[in-house]
């Protein structure tokens, strides 16, 4: 069954394939793990399709810094409900390494996390399929924030709101 996900707040069918899904679909854009990439970069490059990489929570963004030009998608794996390293990975990718491609949250991703994920710079979200239709509401949970953010919607007008003047 094709995978649906939220990308830029729209429900879309995912054109990307993870390795385990790619055998039947050799022309599809492919997401490899960091280890797979590090071991055999040439094999993946030879495929000739767009490439993405999925970071596990313990992977450091610096490990792919030199190869950022190769990837049009980077996914951060959330291994469980309390996992929080992906938020930092996202901010570092957007702010320190200026990654402008698709930044995807995968693994344990639920609607109540979406607002925070988006503000860190994620723009696509693999939710359980049954949650996707309602999940978009989560982006509108808060219309204000105290921190600068990487979310194009809220970011610029809210930069530096700490101690903002009374409205």
């Amino acid at each position: 069954m094709p995978r649906r996900l939220l990308r830029n707040a729209e429900i879309v069918v995912d054109e990307w394939r993870y390795i385990a899904e790619a055998a039947a679909d050799t022309a599809a854009p492919l997401i490899v793990t960091l280890t797979q990439w590090q071991l055999e970069p040439d094999i993946w490059l030879a495929r000739g399709t767009p490439l993405g990489v999925v970071l596990s929570p313990a992977d450091r963004v610096e490990q792919i810094a030199a190869d950022l030009g190769v990837f049009t998608l980077i996914a951060a794996q959330f291994s469980g409900p309390g996992e929080g390293r992906g938020y930092t990975q996202a901010r570092q990718l957007r702010e320190q390494w200026n990654f402008t491609g698709e930044l995807r949250a995968t693994g344990y991703v639920r609607r109540d996390q979406l607002f925070f994920m988006a503000r860190c710079g994620f723009n696509s979200f693999e939710l359980p399929d049954s949650d996707i239709d309602d999940a978009r509401e989560a982006f509108a949970t808060f219309t204000a924030a105290y921190q600068p953010s990487n979310d194009a919607g809220l970011a610029l007008k809210l930069r530096n709101t700490v101690a903002a003047p009374s409205a």
Binding site: P57, R60, P81, G82, E83, G84, R85, Y87, T88, R91, E95, Q96, R110, D112, Q113, F115, F116, M117, R119, C120, T141, F142, T143, A144, A145, Y146, Q147, P148, S149, R159, N160, T161, V162, A163, A164, P165, S166, A167
Partner: protein
């Protein structure tokens, strides 16, 4: 005090709506118990022994009388007519109904309050010196900085799923009244090389299973960089703190395993990357925040001695329950929530209403919560102290024991908390019954007892001059006793005196420890100093010398 602007109001209201929706999804079965747990825990809602427990944030312990009345009303309408003030200057309600919590949050939002991040693995309420802004030894009022950190840390998108909870305390005076050395991060306002104000940053302090005193990460941080530096500390912790073992997940374990030097190197490296980004706190922002904490309109008054010629009860209260104020003619007045027979830190709805009325009449409409679980009226005219005392006394709120043996810090313990191994409230009661002679208590002078019902150390027992820890021994409540702990600028961890004792022997054991002190103390020497001078041995020997009758 800080008043909400449109952003604050919007956020808190939207939070109420979000939590109402989450609660409804849980009650309808759309969210599992585990999924809802993660959400409610970010909003101060625990499921406890009897009922949910709701912890409400009191940022740096400061309340308007309007807010205190709202807390009284919540205690009355949704709970059993009392609330429990905590060592982190918050208040807890022990008996709310889950389905009513969204309504409680709505009432809180009306008075610019919330329960955001009062639990869960995120940045918790910012605590501070209860004498902020009025203490003579202060370099600068820390509360504007507390509020800046509060805003920055509220719904922080990157730091909402940390390895473990994260507590920050800020102080502005050399004397540390906020236990900042046992916080994940301590922020101290200090003077830099050219006399300018900035911060000393400590990290890695904490109590719980592995008590550790925080270490200095940075001796001097220019103040405009506070938020970027905190971001760097949190980022290193978020990426590298342990997530595989709950008991090793606090930042103190990371700091200890890396060593302070390597931890500092990593923080500084991260900070260099982000320090010039959008988090600089500029002078206009600082001034704007400081404008919220301007002194009230004090009258020009001379210092007087309102206790001279008054009865002994007032003189004792004035000596122990009031403290110096930087403005002549004024005094800060503690309201003891440590009346014998009452669980430490508890206040009823009628007491809260009365205290609000008194604060309006005597202290510019503000009340503070201390980390020792008492309340404070910060700005009382010395000449009106006597009439204030009379009213407090009538309401059972003038127990003259601040800073003495019976000013016990205590967690809710087994009676209310599902984590606890043993009761603490009833031990406090036993201690109060044993030590009811004020001449003796006053003769002992400055001494504190801190008690926790389990290793989580909510009662800060490690840093009590006398610490009491509840342990479960084959289904019975036993108590391990430590001496020599301290929470101030000279913070130290207590030493265990020996095997734990059953509940009925706690008070007798403490009496024996105090006997050694009274026999051995030098002139003007505090209990803590005697323990530090003599070591644990003589105390231990006396405590276990003879069996205690059951």
């Amino acid at each position: 005090m800080y008043r909400y602007d449109l952003t604050d109001k919007t956020l808190v209201r939207q939070r109420v709506a979000q939590f109402r929706d989450q609660t409804q999804r849980f009650l309808s079965g759309a969210l599992s118990e585990d999924e809802f747990k993660l959400l409610r825990l970010r909003n101060g809602l625990y499921i406890q022994r009897h009922a949910p427990m709701l912890r409400v944030a009191i940022p740096y312990g400061l309340l308007s009388t309007r807010q205190l009345r709202a807390l009284a009303k919540i205690a009355r309408d949704y709970d059993r007519r009392y609330g429990h003030f905590t060592t982190r200057q918050n208040i807890q309600f022990n008996w709310p109904k889950l389905e009513q919590v969204p309504d409680i949050l709505e009432e809180l939002a009306e008075v610019e309050m919330h329960a955001i991040q009062t639990s869960g693995n995120c940045i918790r309420n910012i605590t501070s010196d209860h004498l902020a802004g009025i203490t003579p030894d202060e370099l600068e009022d820390p509360r504007p900085w507390c509020e800046i950190i509060r805003q920055w840390s509220t719904f922080h998108p990157e730091f909402t799923y940390l390895p473990r909870k994260f507590k920050i305390a800020v102080t502005g005076a050399p004397q540390d009244r906020a236990a900042s050395l046992v916080h994940d991060v301590g922020v101290h306002i200090v003077r830099g090389p050219n006399g300018e104000l900035g911060f000393e940053i400590l990290a890695g302090g904490g109590l719980g299973r592995t008590p550790i005193i925080g270490e200095v990460v940075r001796e001097f941080l220019p103040r405009e960089h506070l938020l970027s530096y905190l971001t760097a500390v949190l980022r290193v912790y978020n990426l590298e703190g342990r997530r595989d073992n709950l008991t090793k997940a606090r930042i103190k374990i990371l700091v200890r395993s890396l060593g302070i030097k390597e931890f500092k190197r990593r923080v500084e490296a991260e900070w260099q990357l982000i320090r010039e980004e959008g988090l600089r706190v500029d002078e206009a922002q600082i001034a704007r925040m400081q404008s919220h904490f301007q002194p009230p309109p004090y009258r020009a008054l001379p210092n007087i001695a309102p206790d001279s010629g008054r009865e002994a009860a007032f003189r004792a209260w004035y000596r122990y329950n009031t403290t110096a104020h930087k403005v002549a003619g004024y005094r800060a007045i503690f309201i003891s929530l440590k009346k014998p027979g009452v669980p430490p830190g508890d206040a009823t709805d009628t007491q809260m209403d009365l205290i609000a009325d008194l604060a309006d009449r005597y202290s510019f409409g503000e009340v503070r919560v201390t980390h020792t679980q008492n309340l404070l009226l910060a700005d009382v005219e010395q000449g009106r102290a006597y009439e204030l005392w009379q009213q407090l006394d009538r309401a059972g709120l003038a127990t003259p024991n601040i800073g003495t043996l019976t000013d016990i810090i205590c967690c809710p313990g087994l009676d209310f908390c599902s984590l606890a191994n043993a009761g603490s409230i009833d031990v406090a009661k036993l201690i109060n019954e044993r030590f009811d002679d004020y001449d003796y208590i006053y003769d002992l002078g400055e001494i504190d007892i801190k008690m926790s019902g389990c290793m989580n150390a909510c009662g800060h027992h490690h840093v009590g001059n006398i610490g009491i820890l509840g342990v479960d021994k084959g289904g019975e409540e036993w108590y391990q006793i430590t001496i020599g702990g301290a929470a101030g600028a000279d913070a130290s961890l207590g030493t265990v005196i020996g095997p734990s004792v059953p509940k009925a022997q706690v008070a007798e054991t403490i009496e024996r420890l105090l006997e050694v002190y009274v026999e051995q103390r030098g002139s003007e020497e505090r209990f803590l100093d005697t323990v530090r001078r003599l070591g644990v041995k003589p105390f231990k020997e006396r405590a276990y010398a003879a069996p205690i009758a059951a």
